[in-house]
Symmetry: C2
Subunit: 444 residues, 2 copies
């Protein structure tokens, strides 16, 4: 086989490890979801931006390096510049803000749905090329902005047809104050990374690591206690006030959180929000609320939407202080979850609502005019391209999940009518006016 | 300045040469156009696919190399694989077809709108990262498929609100037959590239080059005569038949073209199509119709949409013969043209239809409930995030091109009404029910 390929000078068609094509049925679904989210974000006054896929490596990595460094696709371009593919949409956004702050109206509310690349080892459901969906508000450090992000997360998941979901939320400021209280704030980066693993590795393992980091069994226990709810029924505000006490009464953080909860309650969506002190997010740059999202029916699926407040993100690139709060949905993972949940939002992935079959190639111009009429009525209409047996044409419609077909020959042409077939039920309406066919298809 | 930046350890925010950010007002326009085109293509039964941005260099370059080789962004990834960013959407599509032909229904009609990258030297209006919009029909080598691509091009431009445009079309098979007739077919690649420059460099320069290539003044003159219309008024079919005679009566090509013209005429869109024998397209792989598109009001803008029939494209990757016909719109260039033409399709780029101003921060939950009501009515509604002076809030609305604002304080809250202001005309409706505000905004 390989020899024959070589002999014919044929290149083996293949994609890179961790990369993949998307076939039409899936891409139709993905585009439908992206379009729904974009319309939804726009309804809140959020606006889209675009940034280059390729940036200076130095700009993307900033002070980062380390773990991220190994994961990114970077190289020298033809002009010997060190360049890299973006590994998230947050860093390019920070760079964008620093460059364009004088051209934007603040508070600036933007969304960005696009691909990012990471060289990590591909696992089930993890790819080296994947789509992120980010939305942020920059220039407002208040409860109103925090609330709006949470509110938009809630309405987005409701829109996705997910029956039940919970946002686990905490305040990183309280946790930071607590660490200061314990006099371990200089180890906060390591502590954060460890605490972030709680769901994965469990209490005992986390405790062991915390003892190693803090050098104190007592401090490790206290941290573990801080990130654990008293019991499952503890209310949002009870948890908040208990943690506030443990952190040394951080009035500002506590009041912010109370205000956010007041807004959530006024909007009648507070039931989806749980104060979970174990949520800290591994990343160093969060300063206020942090959150993760879990689907009730897929508890082991992991977080499908997370983020928080970062009040210093663009400081890598500008002296201006630009406080932000935002959230990120892993779109490919959400799509996989929706598939697993048989979400009603996922349509059949049909390529068209109706197809005009070709019974007589001489009538092609007429078929085309029928198609134009159907399209004008807002229907997606395919016309079968080839002069083939009707069985082959039916097979084509089936593969494309097209629910209706017009089977029209010289009789229909002569009487200016059409014959409409429901391709699932095989129900047939013979020689009816095209307007009636439109109604029947639309009614489906 | 540089020293200060270094001292503060700030990274200069910048993008690579030939790359650019897109600000909201422009990105809103671009997304609106892409969405219109996608809906339009779907109405013909075309389906979207997606392919990786990064591919094996060998797969993308195929037998190519040369000019293309220098222009692509390629590098070794962490696994020492030779990889490259795609430079068009056609080559990945050919690879996709070869890999997935057993999972697809043929004729396969797909569209793909996404970014591609080329390292060519940036010029005015030319970037190293740009968006292509491709649509193709594969698996149908007949006039019906050729016509459908042309028909969809025509309706797409009509949809874009471009007042006048012309598709210049020719048949590459006739030109190839003519070159064979002249016994210069072995030089066809060079001849094609030369003829393709006719609009840019003019008759005399092309003639000179053709003499060099063919080594014959007579042959150069004959080629130049072939690619020149007798006069501007020569009709589509007259040109076709004259060229058919010159090529030695290629019945099959001539009949195909006659059939296509018959379909165009039946659809009443033939007036947008001109047979122009100088259109040959520089690329070697075309075998049938070829075309370029010019906007009547921007004659020097160059072609904004071009393509043709290629009956052997996937042959690099598969033994299956997959005949195709397709077209490609340079989306960034189209957008620039629409801007220059003040096309009515370009909206204001407003971030929202209405904004709720913050007159009293204590009323924020009520403002939020007003916003929810407006969104439910299908309006895009922003809420001003901060507790700032009203002048600053008006400025925010202006920068975002938001046409309406609600200015509501305790009086409105107490009476459950709103005050609506048209932010352009300053016309104000005091203390009206929210339903009336919805109607007034929608009527605008």
């Amino acid at each position: 086989m390989i020899d024959e390929t070589k002999a014919r000078n044929i290149i083996e068609p293949k994609v890179l490890k961790g990369f993949r094509d998307t076939l039409p049925a899936m891409e139709i679904q993905k585009k439908a979801i992206i379009s729904k989210l974009e319309t939804h974000f726009s309804s809140y006054g959020f606006v889209p931006i675009d940034t280059p896929v390729l940036e200076y490596t130095e700009v993307l990595l900033g002070k980062g390096g380390g773990e991220t460094d190994k994961q990114i696709f970077h190289f020298k371009d033809n002009g010997e510049r060190e360049v890299a593919l973006r590994f998230d949409l947050t860093v390019p956004f920070a760079r964008f803000l620093a460059m364009h702050q004088n051209e934007l109206a603040f508070p600036f509310k933007r969304f960005h749905i696009d691909k990012v690349w990471r060289g990590e080892n591909p696992q089930k459901g993890r790819f080296r090329e994947f789509t992120q969906c980010d939305f942020d508000i920059v220039g407002a450090d208040n409860a109103a902005a925090d609330y709006e992000i949470l509110s938009m997360m809630d309405s987005s998941f409701s829109l996705m047809g997910v029956s039940d979901y919970t946002f686990y939320i905490a305040h990183r400021g309280l946790f930071n104050a607590f660490l200061e209280h314990l006099e371990v704030q200089d180890k906060s980066v390591d502590i954060l990374r460890t605490v972030d693993k709680l769901r994965k590795i469990g209490n005992d393992a986390v405790k062991g690591l915390l003892v190693d980091i803090t050098g104190s069994e007592d401090k490790a226990l206290k941290i573990l206690q801080f990130i654990t709810k008293e019991d499952e029924s503890e209310s949002f505000l009870s948890t908040l006030h208990r943690l506030s006490d443990l952190s040394g009464h951080e009035i500002e953080h506590t009041q912010r959180m109370e205000k956010i909860y007041e807004y959530l309650t006024a909007a009648n969506i507070e039931k989806h929000f749980v104060y979970d002190p174990s949520i800290t997010r591994g990343l160093d740059y969060y300063t206020g609320i942090v959150y993760e999202t879990f689907l009730t029916d897929l508890p082991n699926f992991g977080s499908v939407c997370s983020g928080g407040r970062y009040n210093d993100l663009a400081s890598l690139y500008t002296k201006e202080k630009l406080p932000g709060v935002g959230s990120s949905i892993g779109l490919d993972r959400l799509l996989a979850a929706l598939e697993e949940l048989n979400s009603p939002i996922l349509k059949s992935g049909s390529s068209a609502d109706v197809i005009v079959f070709c019974l007589d190639d001489q009538l092609r111009s007429w078929y085309d005019s029928l198609a134009r009429t159907l399209r004008k009525a807002g229907l997606r209409c395919d016309v079968y391209m080839l002069d083939k047996k009707i069985g082959i044409q039916f097979k084509y419609a089936e593969t494309n999940h097209i629910p209706f077909g017009l089977t029209c020959g010289s009789e229909e042409f002569a009487s200016n009518t059409v014959t409409l077939k429901n391709l699932l039920t095989r129900e047939t309406h013979k020689m009816i006016p095209i307007e009636d066919a439109v109604t029947l298809i639309q009614r489906n």
